[in-house]
Structures are given as C-alpha cells and as structure tokens.
C-alpha cells in the first residue's frame, strides 16, 4: 500500500469550492474502482501555522494503481477535475509515502467510507523528520522501539497516539524523511505541551528527547483538524 500525501495552498476566497471539489469530486471519483481511496482531508489549524493550507492523504493499492491514477489525472477522466481544482489553489506539493514496519495503519480500501458521512472533528499532530546524514535507518529503528513505547507509557491517558508512520518513497519527495501521523487524544495535555517548558529530566541521557538527537534535530509539527466529512477521523 502507498500513501499519496498532498499539501495544498488554497486560494482563501475559494476555500469552500476547494473542499467541495475534494468531497464530491476526488473522494467519489476514486470510489469507482479499487485502486485508491481518500483517507484524510485536514485543515492546518489557523493560528498554528500557514493560512489556508489543506493536507490530504489518499491510500493507493500499489505502484501500478498509482500509475493508473497519474494517467487519469494527466489525460483521463480526472483531467477536467484537476484543472478546476488548480483554479482553487495556488499550488500543491505532493509526495508518495510507504508505511514503516511499526505503522499501525491497516487500510481495507473497500471499507473506507466514500459517502461523506459527518462526524466530530479530530485533531492530529503530524510530525515530519529529517534524520542526519547516514542516520535514517537508526532513527527509524529507535522511533519504533523507543518512541512508540514512550507514547504508550500511560495507556489510560495518552496525549497522542501514532495512527500511521511513513517513509517518503525514493523519487517522490525528500529523502531521508519520516512522517508520523499522530492523533491527539488529550486536548488539555496538548495545551500543557504548548505552554510549559520541557521538564529538565527529559533532556538528560537515557530520555528520548536527549538520545534521539544523535539521529535528528530537525523536524516540523503541524496541527491538522479533520473536516467533518473526512473518511478517517
């Protein structure tokens, strides 16, 4: 399974049309066969980063299915759709992602909703990391062995939980690059995270925040809110 990750810089005055084009266009057009499904439609929360940015994640069955999807967009039934969508955004930055071994996300494409059913919004913290030169594999191993356990250390009151973990596919983005899709479970805990300094003991040897510096010190977090009709929430 591959994951098509896109960051759209939307024209503010056309934000509603853009969202409709994805709900009534992309999501429903993909439902016609078993190649791909829209999973998430997420707004980068205003007040936490750039304005009018939308992140979409689309699951694609495999490389051959992705090639068919690219052909539909270049010269097939989705060509008019993408032309219309382009008129609602400044640009889009895409990449293809492959799941890491410790990624919990398992997608049955046939079971992904495509009817636009409504639900409460959910908040995600999407972290993208760029490991140091030659350190990508060690970072992935440490993230799987140490970071995932750290997040699960208080199962009754998790702050965030990893829903999916990806590595950018060679030839379809920046490398090395790791992306974690983490659902926020504790809103008051998120406020504490944002408003208090990291406890000093966490910066000492033997703690993830210290030890992981060997592998990476550059990452970016985005707070993303699902649309009320996003297939995954």
């Amino acid at each position: 399974m591959l994951f098509l990750h896109e960051v759209h810089r939307v024209a503010g005055a056309k934000a509603k049309e853009f969202e409709v084009a994805f709900r009534a266009g992309w999501m429903e057009a993909l439902a016609a066969d078993g190649d791909a499904r829209l999973l998430w439609f997420l707004h980068h929360a205003h007040g936490t980063g750039p304005s009018y940015q939308v992140v979409t994640v689309t699951a694609v069955a495999d490389g051959a299915a992705w090639e068919r999807l690219a052909a539909r967009v270049q010269h097939g039934d989705l060509r008019d759709w993408v032309r219309e969508v382009d008129s609602c955004r400044h640009d889009v930055q895409g990449r293809l992602l492959m799941p890491l071994d410790f990624s919990p996300l398992e997608v049955d494409l046939a079971a992904v909703p495509t009817d636009g059913r409504r639900h409460d919004p959910a908040l995600y913290m999407e972290d993208t990391m760029w490991p140091k030169r030659g350190k990508a594999d060690e970072y992935i191993a440490a993230a799987g062995a140490v970071y995932t356990k750290l997040l699960g250390s208080d199962p009754a009151h998790p702050l965030i939980g990893i829903e999916a973990a990806y590595q950018t596919m060679p030839g379809a983005g920046r490398y090395p690059e790791i992306t974690l899709m983490q659902k926020v479970h504790d809103m008051s805990g998120l406020v504490r995270l944002l408003t208090t300094d990291m406890p000093e003991e966490m910066a000492r040897r033997g703690n993830w925040m210290h030890d992981a510096l060997e592998f990476r010190d550059q990452w970016r977090s985005k707070l993303l809110r699902t649309a009320s009709w996003s297939p995954l929430n």
Binding site: A70, R79, G94, R133, P176
Partner: protein, 235 residues
C-alpha cells in the same frame, strides 16, 4: 514510461565517491533486469548555481517497476548501496515525471541503454523548470506551439538548443503546477551570446513573440546548466 528525477546535495568531500557509487553501483545494479535504467548523470556546473549538486534521471518501465525499485532500496539488494550513498550526500529530492504529449522522448528501449560506463566527451544541458500561472495544460500546449515547433525548424547554424524531452510531474510526487524541458546545448558560442548579450525582442516576431506571449502563461522559471559526466549513459 516514468522518469525518476533526483537532485542530490552531495557532501563536497565525498564528491568522487558519490559519482563512483552511481557509476559502479546504481547504473550496474539496475542493469540486472529490465525494470529500470540510469539515463543521465549530470553535474550542476559550478559557477552557474548551487554547489555540489548532481542531477540524475532514471527511466522506470511503469508503476509496478517503480514499486519494485523502492522495495529493493528499502529492504532488498539495493539496501546496502542506499545506506552507503546516504552517507555521501546531505539529502536528495526526487520527483517522478511523465512525458507530455509532444515530448520527443516518450518511451526508451531500456535494453539499449549503455550500462558499461564507457567514456565519451562531455555535453551540456539546459534544464528549464517552469511554474505557470495559467492552467498547466495550456502552458504545455503553448510550449508545443510557440517554442518546440520553432526550435525544431531552426536551421542548424542558428540552433542553440535541441529539445530532447518535456515532462510534467506525475501526480502526487512533487509540485503542481510544474513542467520541465530537457534541452541539449548545441552551440556554446550562441549560449554565451544568450548569457552575455541581452536582446530587446520584437514582440511581433519570433522569438520575441514567444518571450512576450509567454508572460500570459508564466513569469517564474529556473534554468540549470548541467554537464554530463564522461560516463553518463545519455549525453
């Protein structure tokens, strides 16, 4: 056919090892089957842009072959090579490209692409990447009608460039809207004129009509002057 375009930010002190890894590793390992072939290994000419940048373009048979290649890099016979190369560069940025409808290069017979590292003279390419303000399809058509057809019809003594390929980004693998021209420089004297003697173009006559008319489609692009290595399969 797909084309994997990668821009490598090479660690300067490892420049030679990086090139050797592509010549003796990537190019030869890909030749083991008919899925993929390295086409170009290009150095961004020092003095014309970013330092220690290498551009590689690799032809990939189709989407299934692309997925197999990614699997080989991640956990197959290319894993050790990938780790070694990862230590020789700061990062790499890749995109998958599709030829547009009028591109001279559409399909490559992968079996005929040299993979033996045989040496040849160097050549220079001008790689133009454009980001249109008009709809992408209209920009690509404009390039066909107002640029490619005129360049192809140019007498040899006036030909500065040969357009070998025009690509657009395959969906979801990089930036949109974007399209790219891969142009071989035929006449270095004419290139020098272009660089050193800016011309006032008559908007009524080509190429002025192209330069002025192009503003309806885009005013943002970037050119790179890329020099092939002496063993690059295409040059």
């Amino acid at each position: 056919m797909l084309f994997m375009h990668e821009v490598h930010s090479v660690a300067g002190e490892h420049e030679r090892e990086f090139e050797a890894a592509y010549r003796d590793g990537w190019m030869k390992l890909l030749a083991r089957d008919d899925d993929v072939r390295l086409l170009w290994y290009l150095n961004h000419a020092h003095g014309s842009g970013a330092s220690y940048r290498v551009v590689t373009i690799t032809a990939v048979r189709d989407g299934a072959a692309y997925e197999r290649l990614a699997g080989r890099l991640r956990r197959g016979d290319l894993l050790d090579w990938s780790r070694a190369v990862g230590a020789l560069r700061h990062e790499v940025r890749g995109k998958m490209l599709l030829p547009v409808y009028w591109s001279p290069i559409q399909e490559i017979d992968l079996a005929t692409v040299p993979a033996d590292g045989s040496e040849h003279e160097l050549s220079l390419y001008m790689e133009d990447t454009g980001w249109p303000s008009a709809p992408l399809d209209d920009y690509i058509q404009f390039w066909d009608q107002e640029y490619f057809r005129y360049m192809r019809a140019m007498p040899p003594e006036h030909s500065i460039l040969e357009i070998e390929a025009c690509f657009q980004v395959a969906h979801g693998t990089h930036y949109r809207p974007e399209a790219m021209l891969m142009q071989k420089v035929l006449d270095y004297g004419l290139l020098l004129n272009l660089i050193s003697e800016p011309e006032d173009y008559d908007p009524e006559v080509w190429p002025g009509r192209y330069m002025h008319g192009g503003l309806r489609y885009r005013d943002q692009w970037e050119s790179r002057l890329l020099r092939t290595s002496k063993w690059s399969p295409r040059y």
